[in-house]
């Protein structure tokens, strides 16, 4: 029913808008009766209204608009000429529609007003031959009749106690007034009160010009800047009073900014509302049974962002139906219900909105993706071997990737998820996928709440300040003077930095911006800003980095329109201007892709210097005798907890961690060494998406790649293989298995207590 309401609401808003235009157009037509374009426009407007009310089952409205359409049809075919009488008739029609519409708004029904006379008159006029001489008298007569009809209508609607915003008879002045006056005080008072109690959609909300909002937004941004400036100047000020005032200004400004931002917010349902239909149509085409569930429809997002995620979301949903959900027979064979389910979930998290699209379909086919990626040359064979499952899944976001065997009209044209990724990243968002075979996949979009104000890192290059959106930056590396010679490597003409064994393509901002010609790593220390954007990862060498700041993005003039490298500019606290660099364009213009290719070729040739992250291991002490290794790419964080913070739930140990509950897994217990008590407090957080667990270990020892003499192990849960590091045998942990155990909540301290339960 909710969708129906949404549709109805849209119809009401649109129709009201349409009626205002219609009034203006009719009046324009009166002054230039031969304007055929105008007649056509009016015809179309009425036609739209009629079309929708047929759909929504409003017969009265339909019959009235239909009569009007017949009359206009005559005007259109020029068998009839426009005269005052017809215009008046049509204006009356407008008012009649208005009466019905407001009745619908109040009671969801068309009301009891009768418009038979009007319909008859409209049809009569459509037939009547021209009699221009008697126009005036007739129109007076007509007006009188209409007055009567209108009065009847009003009485009827009042009799049913359905308050309706009946506008009085169409005098011209009112017909052109764009605002609907709610109720004039001359009406019965109880009528007036009722309208106030039963607030219609139009009274609690206000349609405001987007331009005006943008302007307000801009002004709020200015105020933020001025506030920053004031805060900076008052930093050293001792006057307590003055400081209190600036504090107040600070708070009010923040609140104002938030408030203005909120005015641009729309519930995500404005885009979601079309998905039930999309899902229904697509599942019919695909001969699949799909149910759509939506949660968090009321989550709000900036209007421009809502527009921007419309297409990506549609694409993801289509993909889920086309590729994700299996045919009913296949689902039954797998022991699932015949009907597949797509869940859309939206929620706000800090300054971001998280949108998840989850299907319970077949999940991604890892093998197929790997093969396709190899076939398309997206990854090298060596890399394919070493990639983890989730890394392979992420390949579906690579440009030009599609696994569909047949190109359907739904998806599979090779412009799929990469477009989703790039359009989400364009608005400063992030997209990720997790998938489990036969359980389905989940795509997670992380969208910033607003575009106008973004967190950015300020950095300097050649004495000038620039801003880079924080969303694209993954880390900062200080390039010390002593270090720089050893860690920079050159392949051909391309510089690289060895970052934890990985080759990171580098570019020099000063060279890219043509401040200097060479790749000068001068005497002073430099900083590498590691950027991950648009699917490529590279380092930008800059002179220094400063604070991160919330900056207000301002557009650049048309004169700089052909410099896409700048996403805009901002005014800093001290009044200076800083250009905002678009990292994706920076990478593209520096030909980072070619540089990456050079790196992978070089590594293929020598296979020596590059070590992919997935081969790196974190060495931990599990118990006093046992050491274990965890693949570094599975590790999310290393934490040290206070033992007192650990809580017991049933048989398992948990800890409150970053606002949720982290399940702990005692590795020693899993490996059969339950005698020893865990005392270190060290926890390795592993897993991805929702399935994150903390592995309890005694100590964190090292990160290494020198694992030799690897021997696979069969039948020992939690261990994939043994190997030798620095002369000692260690166990390579099966993280997936441990995460699964943790997810089931069955592993904590294994002791008598839990055995008893």
């Amino acid at each position: 029913m909710g969708e129906q309401d949404g549709l109805l609401n849209d119809f009401l808003v649109e129709t009201k808008e349409g009626l205002d235009h219609l009034d203006a157009e009719l009046l324009a037509l009166e002054s230039s009766p031969d304007d055929r374009d105008l007649i056509n426009a009016i015809f179309r407007r009425l036609h739209t209204i009629k079309g929708v009310c047929g759909f929504l089952d409003f017969h009265k409205l339909e019959s009235v608009t239909h009569a009007g359409e017949t009359l206009l049809g005559e005007l259109r075919s020029e068998t009839l000429k426009v005269d005052d009488k017809i215009i008046t008739l049509l204006l009356t029609l407008c008012d009649a529609i208005r009466t019905i519409v407001s009745s619908i708004e109040e009671t969801k029904r068309e009301g009891d007003s009768r418009f038979d006379t009007l319909v008859a008159e409209l049809l009569e006029a459509a037939k009547a031959p021209q009699a221009s001489s008697e126009t005036e008298e007739l129109s007076l007569d007509d007006q009188f009749e209409m007055l009567l009809a209108q009065r009847e209508a009003e009485e009827a609607s009042q009799a049913t106690a359905a308050p309706s915003a009946v506008s009085p008879v169409a005098t011209r002045a009112e017909a052109i007034s764009p605002i609907e006056v709610p109720q004039s005080p001359t009406h019965q008072p109880e009528h007036h009160e009722q309208t106030q109690v039963k607030t219609g959609a139009q009274e609690t909300s206000l349609r405001v010009d987007v331009e005006l909002l943008d302007h307000l937004m801009n002004l709020a941004g200015e105020l933020v800047l001025a506030r920053n400036q004031i805060l900076q100047t008052t930093k050293g000020n001792q006057d307590v009073n003055f400081r209190a005032i600036t504090q107040r200004l600070n708070l009010v400004t923040s609140e104002l900014q938030e408030g203005v931002m909120k005015t641009r917010m729309q519930p995500i349902n404005t885009v979601w509302s079309k998905f039930p239909r999309v899902v229904r149509d697509l599942s019919m085409t695909c001969k699949k049974q799909v149910r759509l569930e939506m949660y968090g429809k009321e989550t709000e997002l900036d209007k421009t962002l809502i527009e921007a995620i419309k297409d990506p979301l549609t694409h993801i949903v289509r993909n889920s139906i086309d590729h994700g959900i299996e045919l009913p027979e296949a689902r039954l064979a797998k022991g699932k219900s015949a009907e597949g389910c797509i869940t859309m979930r939206a929620s706000q998290e800090g300054g971001y909105v998280i949108i998840e699209i989850i299907d319970d379909g077949g999940g991604l086919n890892t093998e197929k993706i790997r093969d396709r990626a190899l076939e398309r040359g997206l990854i090298s064979r060596e890399k394919a071997q070493s990639m983890s499952e989730s890394d392979i899944h992420r390949l579906i976001f690579a440009p030009g990737f599609s696994t569909a065997d047949t190109i359907t009209n739904l998806s599979g044209r090779g412009v799929g998820m990469d477009v989703v990724k790039s359009s989400v990243e364009k608005i400063g968002g992030h997209v990720d996928i997790t998938s489990h075979s036969d359980q389905g996949s989940s795509i997670r979009l992380k969208i910033p709440l607003t575009l106008a104000i973004i967190p950015a890192l300020l950095l300097s290059c050649a004495g000038q300040k620039f801003a880079v959106p924080q969303s694209a930056i993954t880390e900062l590396v200080q390039l010390g003077a002593s270090e720089k010679l050893g860690s920079l490597s050159w392949i051909g003409n391309y510089p690289f930095y060895k970052l934890r064994g990985d080759l990171l393509p580098l570019l020099f901002l000063s060279k890219q911006l043509k401040f200097s010609a060479g790749n000068d790593v001068a005497d002073q220390d430099k900083v590498i800003v590691v950027i991950d954007s648009d699917g490529s990862r590279f380092g930008v060498v800059v002179d220094a980095v400063h604070d991160t700041e919330e900056i207000v993005v301002k557009p650049l003039g048309r004169q700089l329109g052909n410099l896409p490298i700048y996403a805009g500019a901002t005014i800093l606290g001290d009044g200076q201007i800083a250009l905002i660099i678009d990292p994706a364009v920076l990478g593209r213009e520096a030909n980072i892709e070619r540089q990456e290719m050079a790196a992978s070729q070089a590594s293929a040739a020598t296979s020596g210097p590059t070590v992919s992250e997935s081969e790196q291991l974190l060495i931990v002490q599990v118990s006093s005798e046992v050491r274990a290794a965890i693949p570094l790419n599975e590790v999310r964080r290393l934490e040290e907890f206070n033992l007192r913070d650990i809580e017991r739930v049933g048989a398992s140990s948990v800890i409150q961690y970053r606002g949720s509950i982290l399940q702990l897994v005692d590795v020693a217990a899993c490996l059969g060494n339950s005698a020893e008590r865990w005392s270190g407090g060290h926890v390795v957080v592993v897993g991805n998406g929702d399935s994150v667990v903390g592995l309890q270990v005694q100590a964190i020892l090292d990160v290494t790649t020198q694992l030799t003499a690897i021997k696979p192990v069969q039948g020992k849960d939690g261990i994939t293989s043994y190997g030798v590091i620095q002369g000692k045998v260690i166990a390579l942990l099966d993280v997936d298995h441990l995460v699964k155990l943790g997810a089931m909540g069955i592993v904590g301290f294994v002791n008598e207590e839990s055995a008893a339960i």
Binding site: Q464, F515, P555, G557, N562, I571, I577
Partner: protein, 153 residues
Amino acid sequence: MTNHGNQPPQQLVTFKTGEYSFGIDVLEVQEVLKRQQMTYVPLAPEEVQGLINLRGHIVTAIGMRERLHLDASADEIEQMNLIVSLKDGAASLVVDTVGDVISLDPTRYKPRPRALKAPLKDMVLGVYESDKGLLLHIAPEVVCKVCEEEKRD
């Protein structure tokens, strides 16, 4: 927009750059400022001298000398900013000196001479014989059209 056709404007703001004297319709001039602090824009065309913070609005400053391919040797003069309003926002023309606002005698306003060459040819709308010499009446919209060609694609 103001009358860019054959109709001469009523008043011109006069300014000089190099040996040229120019006039811009007073209705198209927003304000005149002394030299402002400018933020250099790397990779921008050479005509773009930088960005100015005009009370919170970011305005592109276009050097008249660079636009006219004159030597940028005007360092000894304190150049001035002539803020002009364009169809989509404001821009600043960096000029040598800004002179008086003069009222025009329509009989002394002549349409654009045909003989003008490249950069001037497009921006000049007409010529006015003032008491102090010839004034080139130019269209700021055209002067500020820097690299529009590349922008189109």
